[in-house]
Subunit: 221 residues, 2 copies
């Protein structure tokens, strides 16, 4: 996303990188609010989603403005289309972080995550924050090695997600149906961060190599 010859795209990349930073912070804050049953932090995360939506609207206006310039080349147009898709994925990641915070808020003053699953969710939160940060780094550097890292990180998130289900469905699990519902939704939200990061990496790889691989579209749960 950083062609040396076309300055206006650099502005778009800046918008997108800023969005990845917003989203990475939201994921970390949503996870913190969940772990500590921290109502204030949950509310702040829900509010932060508006800023991500606003950032998307601004980025999209910039992108569409560039698209309508008569001098847009086909290569640029494909970059701009990829950029539009990336803002959609990032906006959705903001929604997901907000959904996580809403689960924390709904169960307050209780904690939605039982003791024996705190570690799993800490890992999910940390991995999802990292994967969001890596999409920002990849936007900045166009380093394809990061694409492979993101695909591997997504697999790891999927494994954590599966281990969560094994735990909840195991015979010794002593939680309530309400907890099972919360944990199912939470697991799904975290797992979707990985899918969106993979989609973003795919859009970026397409720009660099011209080859599109449909990935991350079929989570098992």
């Amino acid at each position: 996303m950083q062609p040396t010859s076309h300055e206006p795209l650099a502005n778009v990349v800046e918008h997108l990188v800023a969005m990845t930073e917003q989203v990475a912070i939201m994921i970390a804050e949503a996870t913190a609010s969940l772990m500590a049953a921290d109502l204030q932090r949950a509310e702040a995360t829900v509010s932060a989603d508006k800023a991500v939506n606003h950032a998307q609207d601004e980025a999209d206006e910039t992108i569409i403005g560039l698209m309508t310039r008569a001098s847009t080349y086909e290569g640029d147009m494909r970059s701009l289309v990829a950029a539009l898709r990336i803002t959609t994925d990032l906006e959705r990641m903001g929604d997901l972080a907000s959904h996580i915070a809403k689960v924390a808020r709904r169960r307050y003053p209780d904690r939605a995550v039982p003791d024996d699953l705190v570690d799993t969710f800490a890992q999910l939160g940390s991995n999802c924050r990292t994967i969001a940060e890596k999409t920002g780094l990849m936007l900045d550097t166009r380093d394809l090695a990061l694409c492979d890292e993101i695909f591997a990180d997504d697999q790891h998130i999927n494994e954590l997600h599966r281990s969560l289900f094994y735990e909840v469905l195991s015979h010794d699990w002593s939680g309530t149906v309400e907890q099972a519902v919360d944990l199912t939704l939470l697991g799904r939200y975290y797992e979707r961060f990985g899918d969106h990061a993979v989609l973003i990496a795919g859009h970026l790889r397409y720009l660099v190599t011209g080859t599109y691989v449909r990935a991350g579209a079929a989570p098992q749960r």
Copy 2:
């Protein structure tokens, strides 16, 4: 999406309407496979998702081709951007139908939905099929009254979704944790059909009125 003066867009609308038909059928078939624990139908629905992905790729190529033509006007460009967003939503609806069929497949020869929730899922399936069909009709006619219908239909889907949770979380519910997990995921998949239909309606309304309303982005579960 049917401006009289710009023929090429008519071709794009045809692609999109065909996708809405594919998706509506997938929703109906996924629901049928779930209700009857019909493995063959579930497998067919999972396979049908490939055709939706292929249809998206074809539609996107057509759209991007039109975007790169020097004669694309700003009005057309916004229509084309909306069309790209619509293919993304429709592709995702195909994924969701496939996820529903995978739940049916995973529980075969058992049925994932217990007797007392068959009626709720029949209604969810029927409403989601209808809302997908209405996006096709709206693409075809640009009739804004359909936009309001789609918003209302989405609210009804959200109510069915909430009623499902009340049922699962009620004190008399006698199902297993595994069933609770399945029903939580299934409810979420159906609820997302409504959200995507609302997003599509929003993209279309924007094209007709020039006003964009961010809707359907914040389901409570």
